[in-house]
Symmetry: C2
Subunit: 420 residues, 2 copies
């Protein structure tokens, strides 16, 4: 690769994960022109090491993902998104730990983000890069958290957004997009047709492309969840990190974050990843377990945000889990509901089904004795339960229904052995 | 009042706002035994002034409401709630400011709290005080943010909660409560009957009472929103603060926060409050405008969280707005929807109808020329739009529906003058 003047001194190149071809890290390079594979952003860790020391971080008062700017694919003079993305709380939870037989268990609640999911971390990168590149419009095709996070972050940045959704998209989610001022195109077709139309439109009108399938910068945003976990633990790496897996981009981002910190010497070991998928849609875990390539699966799970039958960042996910010597766990919808109840009841954390799938898998792994009781363990909750109250209803069961009468209340309590 | 050994050295007494009778600030004192009025917590500002200086605050790394512990009704050794309540983002928003003709406009997004509303600040106080008093169960009657915040914070604290809801309560909200492990009693009656049954049960079984109507400590939690605003502005007081008003407890809390800071010398002036209610339910504003006592009103507004026909903290609200030489503004449901769209489109902030009512009122006041263009102005958004996606749907309108075809998309864009 020719060494021309670079905008981002801390980045060496965008490297094809398959054939190793290197490209200038700019928005013309999304996938490898030689072999068609996805790219990975390669940093100059020697350069960054001098810029990002523990003491420097400790003195920063920007409690958002941008406190790690030196490890992100943004120019020094980029205008950052005004929304406070990141620095979600990391809760030490003795009570959940006691239930799972884990003495050092933490929950990272990433539902506490501006549009209530971890995806804000990726969309923040997208809008900053779009703006820096002089583009005024961003676009993606999605019905879920990618769309709402893009619409919200674009609005805050003053960019237009076009979101393509299949017509079956829930009306509440479409409304959220439109409140953010997104131009929503409801496509009378399935997801595949919707995606194709979005790709054509993005190509035709030259919008900034936030389809995580091919944009290598989004993963860099997602990795900030790990940078935070390590800093919140006092620059320690967990022994295990459990996360729900759909497309593969998030778990690959989680891994990249820890590796970055390891490379610049801020942590001295790496965690093992616990890759959790739904029984009804687990192509990545199946590939990890069998050693065979990823093959398309049906999408049969309540956890819609991770129901991805053809994962587009599957290869990165496989590499991450293998490199970490990680664990795979698949869970049923009932186990996902149980994790929702457990996180809510014991931690006061309300997650959506896909958001708590990592915790469901951690519980299962712990019960099978796969996690040492003293291991420093983190479960990442990736999205807020308010995103899907219908599932919460299914998980939660029914309240006690009675007339306004103390005698009846007392009798019902006695009958149910409540409290007395 | 007898000077016995006090648990909270920084608190002088709980004082009746009407007759001035003083009570020991403990959980036996909720309302005045002489005249039945509500109490206000009176601090020893001289004592606190020595403990809470700007430099001390600057060195604190606890970015939650508990960074202001010296100004809160909790004992030094109280176990604090583990959820990260408070320190919600304060966004400077030039673009919204430009729309409103205000050059120094900020939005405080309090939907960014653990259970997604400002009420977490009150419930955090409730569960801390309940726990400190050795109680294991908390209770309230509500369908909305008070209930979800109590259930979530109780769960995190390891306390049981009983929540009484009228049977018309939305199922999604009930589900959230139950995910938090609350015992939900759905009462086959109206809100009045539900409240009465909760009061009887609380009395009978001695649960900690989180009905904001009579518990004077909850307002102390709510005031932390103002402590944060001032600190986030570099210990400046805004000139105007706009907030939606229902029961009256929140605006009274907002006022108390600024007054506290003024008393201990951390700010050198006080803001004017902009009290915003819905046209269809504005008993507090009506009393402020006419000078007559508060009278019951119908509850005709989409903004359900502030649809309070008989405000229980009305007197405190009246005093706050009058003392601040504030402004009253009433807004229509359409103006509330417009504020939802405006905050979403321009700021990337998604608020529920009651959450954005303050902003709707600020817009109206600015358009009427009631706010000087250079005034330092803050609008508090009190709850997350995900709490009520049905209203978002009404506000947002319909997406563009088309078949998956580029020619049709192009034609539709042209027809609507979109982009080309």
């Amino acid at each position: 690769m020719e060494k021309k003047e670079k905008l981002m001194k801390h980045i060496i190149a965008a490297v094809c994960i398959q054939c190793g071809a290197e490209y200038e890290a700019d928005d013309n390079a999304y996938t490898c022109v030689k072999c068609g594979n996805v790219l990975d952003i390669k940093y100059d860790y020697g350069y960054i090491r001098g810029k990002l020391a523990k003491e420097k971080l400790a003195s920063r008062t920007d409690y958002s993902m941008w406190r790690y700017k030196e490890l992100l694919p943004v120019e020094e003079d980029s205008r950052l998104t005004p929304l406070r993305v990141g620095w979600s709380p990391l809760y030490k939870t003795e009570r959940l730990g006691a239930r799972l037989g884990l003495r050092n268990l933490y929950v990272k609640d990433d539902g506490q983000n501006p549009t209530s999911s971890l995806k804000d971390r990726a969309s923040a990168i997208a809008v900053v890069r779009a703006q820096r590149a002089g583009m005024t419009t961003v676009a993606c095709s999605s019905t879920g958290n990618a769309a709402s996070s893009l619409a919200g972050n674009a609005a805050a940045m003053g960019l237009s957004s076009f979101i393509f959704v299949p017509e079956r998209a829930p009306k509440g989610k479409v409304a959220q997009l439109m409140i953010f001022g997104a131009r929503v195109i409801s496509v009378q077709g399935n997801y595949e047709e919707t995606f194709k139309l979005s790709a054509q439109a993005i190509e035709r009108w030259g919008w900034y492309n936030r389809n995580a399938a091919i944009n290598p910068y989004l993963l860099e945003g997602k990795k900030t969840v790990s940078l935070e976990i390590a800093e919140q633990l006092g620059f320690k790496s967990p022994d295990y990190v459990a996360v729900s897996v759909g497309d593969g981009c998030t778990i690959a981002g989680v891994w990249k974050g820890f590796k970055d910190l390891f490379e610049i010497g801020l942590i001295d070991k790496l965690p093992k990843l616990i890759s959790v998928q739904a029984d009804g849609c687990c192509p990545i875990n199946r590939a990890l377990e069998t050693g065979k390539p990823i093959e398309r699966m049906e999408e049969n799970t309540i956890a819609d945000s991770i129901a991805v039958g053809v994962p587009r960042n599957g290869e990165k996910a496989l590499r991450a889990v293998r490199e970490s010597q990680g664990i795979t766990v698949n869970v049923s919808d009932e186990e996902i509901f149980e994790a929702m109840r457990l996180l809510g009841t014991v931690c006061g954390v309300f997650g959506e089904p896909a958001g708590v799938t990592g915790t469901a898998g951690l519980k299962k792994a712990a019960e099978r004795g796969l996690i040492p009781p003293d291991a420093l363990t983190v479960a990442i909750v990736t999205g807020n339960g308010l995103k899907d109250t219908a599932s919460a209803q299914t998980a939660a069961g029914e309240p006690l229904r009675i007339p306004p009468d103390m005698d009846i209340l007392t009798a019902e309590f006695k009958k149910r052995n409540i409290y007395f």
